[in-house]
């Protein structure tokens, strides 16, 4: 499935991933292939995604929102904390 992480300043990541974990407001959750359509707000925390090509990556986001639709995940974060 396709994941993109976008902030107002730039596109942080886009590409194929096997799984992704998000810091939902009501607790962390993982999204795998063929997940049902979902919109969730994110709290401050870690976004982790696993891709075959690049392995596991972790980003610290300062809240945001995630949409999952037809194997496409869009993460809108206001800020990535380096």
């Amino acid at each position: 499935m396709y994941l993109e992480i976008i902030t107002p300043d730039k596109k942080v990541f886009q590409g194929e991933v096997d799984s992704a974990t998000f810091p939902g407001t009501k607790g962390s959750f993982q999204v795998l292939n063929n997940h049902a359509p979902l919109i969730s707000t994110l709290a401050q925390g870690k976004v982790t995604y696993v891709s075959k090509a690049e392995g596991t990556h972790t980003l610290q986001v300062d809240g945001g929102v995630v949409e999952v639709l037809n194997n496409k995940i869009s993460v809108l974060a206001e800020r990535i904390i380096e």
């Binding site: 107002p8 300043d9 009501k26 359509p37 969730s40 707000t41 949409e67 809108l76 206001e78 800020r79």
Partner: protein, 313 residues
């Protein structure tokens, strides 16, 4: 467009029968160096414009996705969004955000903003202004310098935003406006800025940031009613997203203004370079004419001298 001050000056040199050669020469020198400066400034503005336009392009995917999600959410639950940011109150106190640049030499770029704000103060918010209830939040040094002299109350803490423009910086200014709207300090927030149309065209806009205006295009309600899982609840997500979209609207105004500034400066400097070129042409003509006149006079003197000598012999 020709520079009004420069023209008559050149004309004066034209008409004076014996313009001083040295004077004209030094003038040619100074105009040449001015032209070099304006040319360089134009080039710099062009490079900065490209970067500013890139920033707008970068913002677009985020802004579009956000609007898309918001539309999805609000099309599912019709109206009924009691939003703190959408509350319509009788307008007593107004905050005007004046978006200008830090630097000048960009044609009418900054003047247009001030002029638009003056119209707002004299017409739309006349009563509030007379009671001293209009406050201004200048962004960019030019607005700060301009309104410092006036009697309008200022909020100067965000005036330096453009020295290092990023979403993080813009966010704090937007949050300031939102906070003061929610706690009732202001009943209306207006952003006045230059919208970027293309390099040569800037459109001056006075946009209402708060309270947020209800979405206009409601006709596509049947479009894509996907059965989303909402986490936590739909209302809570909407409440979370609306401030985000206000911040984005604000940031977009700043980015637009930034790109407009460089576009305006580019056009202004291009005209200045052209003007200098024209002036140089005229000055060179005057220079050559004067030089020739001087040579002619000299020859005349020699011939006359020789004549006098030969006749006295």
């Amino acid at each position: 467009m020709k520079h009004p001050v420069v023209k008559p000056d050149a004309h004066f040199l034209y008409c004076s029968t014996m313009a001083n050669l040295k004077e004209v020469k030094s003038r040619i020198g100074s105009v040449t160096s001015t032209q070099q400066i304006t040319k360089a400034m134009k080039m710099v503005a062009a490079a900065k414009l490209r970067r500013a336009q890139d920033a707008i392009t970068q913002l677009r995917p985020y802004a579009e996705k956000l609007t898309e999600i918001l539309q999805n959410l609000s099309s599912a639950n019709k109206e009924g969004t009691d939003n703190v940011y959408g509350e319509q109150r009788p307008v007593n106190r107004v905050l005007i955000v004046a978006v200008t640049s830090d630097k000048g030499l960009a044609g009418a770029f900054n003047t247009n903003v001030m002029r638009r704000i003056r119209v707002l103060l004299e017409n739309d918010f006349r009563e509030q202004h007379q009671q001293g209830n209009v406050e201004i939040l200048p962004i960019g040094k030019k607005a700060l310098d301009y309104y410092k002299k006036g009697d309008v109350k200022l909020h100067t803490q965000f005036s330096g935003l453009f020295s290092n423009l990023s979403f993080d910086e813009a966010r704090s200014a937007a949050e300031f406006a939102m906070e003061n709207f929610v706690n009732g300090t202001f009943d209306k927030v207006i952003v006045v800025y230059n919208e970027f149309k293309n390099v040569a065209t800037q459109i001056i806009r006075a946009e209402q940031l708060l309270p947020i205006l209800p979405a206009e295009n409601e006709e596509e309600e049947s479009a894509a009613t996907v059965d989303y899982i909402y986490e936590p609840s739909r209302e809570e997500i909407v409440q979370e997203l609306i401030p985000k979209s206000i911040k984005i609207q604000f940031y977009k105004a700043l980015l637009d203004s930034n790109a407009s500034e460089h576009g305006a400066r580019m056009t202004a400097m291009d005209k200045a370079t052209d003007n200098a070129g024209e002036l140089l042409k005229e000055l060179k003509l005057v220079y050559n004419r004067t030089r020739q006149a001087a040579i002619t006079t000299e020859i005349l003197e020699i011939v006359a001298g020789a004549e006098a000598l030969s006749s006295s012999r």
